[in-house]
Symmetry: C2
Subunit: 489 residues, 2 copies
Amino acid sequence: MLKNWAPEERPEKEEIKERLKAASQKLYELQMKIKEHKLPVLVLFEGWGASGKGSSIGKVIKNIDPRFFKVATMSAPTEEELRRPFLYRYFKQIPEAGKFTFLDSGWMEQTCKDCLDGLKGEAYAKRIDSIKRFERQLTDNGYLVLKFFMEIDKEEQTRRMNALLDSKDTDWRVAEFDRWQNEHYKKCRKIFDKYLTDTNTSTAPWYIIDATDKKWAELQILETMVSNIEVAMQNSGHSTPLLQNVFPLVKMPKLSEIELEGKEISDEDYKAELKQLQKKLGELHNRLYRKRIPVIITYEGWDAAGKGGNIKRITEALDPRGFEVHPIASPEPHEKSRHYLWRFWTRLPKDGHIAIFDRTWYGRVMVERLEGFCSENDWKRAYNEMNEFEKELSDWGAVIIKFWVQIDKDTQLARFTDRQNNPEKQWKITDEDWRNREKWDAYEGAINEMLTKTSTVYAPWYILESVDKKYARIKALKIVIEQLEKALK
Amino acid sequence: MLKNWAPEERPEKEEIKERLKAASQKLYELQMKIKEHKLPVLVLFEGWGASGKGSSIGKVIKNIDPRFFKVATMSAPTEEELRRPFLYRYFKQIPEAGKFTFLDSGWMEQTCKDCLDGLKGEAYAKRIDSIKRFERQLTDNGYLVLKFFMEIDKEEQTRRMNALLDSKDTDWRVAEFDRWQNEHYKKCRKIFDKYLTDTNTSTAPWYIIDATDKKWAELQILETMVSNIEVAMQNSGHSTPLLQNVFPLVKMPKLSEIELEGKEISDEDYKAELKQLQKKLGELHNRLYRKRIPVIITYEGWDAAGKGGNIKRITEALDPRGFEVHPIASPEPHEKSRHYLWRFWTRLPKDGHIAIFDRTWYGRVMVERLEGFCSENDWKRAYNEMNEFEKELSDWGAVIIKFWVQIDKDTQLARFTDRQNNPEKQWKITDEDWRNREKWDAYEGAINEMLTKTSTVYAPWYILESVDKKYARIKALKIVIEQLEKALK
């Protein structure tokens, strides 16, 4: 078993009682401070069947105001969830700033079940990597992640199950998997131990709770929560050192090096090509659907570069039951109070579907960076976080196509002026657009850095030269078709 | 093989040449910045025999001024090194601030060799934990740790070895282990892969270098170094979030709760007990020596609390060939420019020996904290770092006994005044002692926090009430004897 954490010996009953009182009181006091510090706390309970995960959560939450916590019970994944990346249903559950989420089993139980069903080797290693990155992204972003493993031995488990099975009122509480576990205790033990060792990281370590005695288990949990919340509050507002890059990058040109002149197409050629390419894309969409390959197409670009029209030429070709377009504006309060990737995780397509993002997570290193909506450390860390996010999607099997729609400053001015002067287009132009335009140079610097640092071999950026919007549309269609054909091979 | 890092495909010869030139130039420029930023860089080369570890180091250092780097070649551990914790010989080699250390194989090769000799299960897991903590402590303290694994396949290894063996001038370069490795390539592959996966952490990830082509290998190394030095410089001066505590703690009293009155002993009893206890300790020392158990006894306490005399009563009982006393003053420049635990790592006893530290690493959370000799983040992080350090020593098999020598403020004043007025004792009192005395309350707070956070079950603190120095001496001897007897059981 995991050896880095050995709880002390169980104290006398009286001592447990006294310390329980103190720890409960302390946790009660801390909840307001958590609110003040905007600390999000994720508490994961894993462990043996009948070890008391649920009842432990029940006892802990008695010390917390119901407005400040949420309990999530993870039953078997739904059909909808199975068609998304493994972490999807867990990422969805992460708490808001200042609140607790308690999880009654989660990605550990699921992974160990998958191991029993044959998950191993490279696929297992990838899973572990995903989980470690998920937990680390949370702690890097100021989350406290507390992981408890409720430990009982085989005899104790048998005893508890029999007690539950003895009565018609309680026998439903013994799940079939619990029974199976008890019969194959040794086999499960081995898988649990390996998982605990493999995911015992410095920023989200495991706490093995001796759950043989219920009061003693409660005390270990409460005291661990209290002491770690105190540590986490010392870290609040703290920035996190940047990580070394481990993703192979594709060399990108600077924006100023992109030749825009001559990137044009005649109306006639455009019409002919568009028709032919859209037909091709429509066919590919059907094949993708049958092969259940997820596709993520993202658009970033200057204001008035022609993103909307470009997206339209893609979607025209697609079966409306198989795609979704997500226009991304500034985050709403419930989104802002979570990890910034949460609103993208929750918008991922099902496999076989296409999700098109009109603006994306890259807002973090453009507008959020330049307008000071996040800290310097936040956006500097984000390059790696987004590479990790996309690696997750790519490992899931997704095709990721990232477009930068490029125009020059003069073209933008002409289009802005045209919008301003044209009553039908006036809704498309705001004061903010003009303000952003004033910061062109700062944006250009940020965009260059973004393209350099996030064009990975598995999710590269593509430049769409869009002074002639038709040219850009044809180019986009060709790239999408090419990448989908590659994926379908 | 480790999958999170997949280098790009090997480019054309011409491109390699060009990029090599650029990367060399860049590294050359960066060395002065490293100096300015006081960044210490540890570069570890591991990999297959004949994969070109040594020659790669040779090429890299051509770009660096010889004053700024050191190359350490790790041959088989000496007898002296084998009698110390596994990490000892590696911790010794860590670079100074602003400099590089290149290691031609290190803790990976040694661990994999040990695996071939049967290291497995819990012992292997502990080793991995040690290594991960070692690397993380370095990166937490601002070190850049770059880990390269030089990858060639079996055929390439055979080809290279045969070429070397063909000539009398080069055949010495093929070590016996390399030959063995080639014959058992698959077995070694498995062990290497497991190690790489187990130690691939976010703050010190592995870079698998495709070493089939030498120029291409050099380019991968140089570019990885350059880009990661740039990341590390952005982190310089950056603080690191505190970690959750994973060590079981023993509850300690506050200093103000310690009863000092009545803790005394008559001269007669003292003499009798001292004689008997010292005799006992002397015997135990012999048994420890034969059983090769290392012992570490540390002293902290108020000025004039009686540490020196207390230590003397211990050492009087010991065989002088089997112990060493380390008086710890403020660090020298070459110590200050390394991880603050470096000067303690390098002073560890051999197994079977006793090391007594008169003041210790706990200076970090007392004088260094209160005088501002380190940053707030440094001392806040130190509690956990010291718990980890002592866990390392405890896992190695060491008995760790930590004394806090306690007196009250009046007793200190009386002793200071006595020293001042007594010409023979005047050397023992300095202006600094008086200045420290003025900060009594601040020290008391820091000491209480230290005792609370670092009294682990495997390395607890013991309080020595020392208003009557004789009482404290007898108590210390009794505790040492008791703990040694426990270890000898």
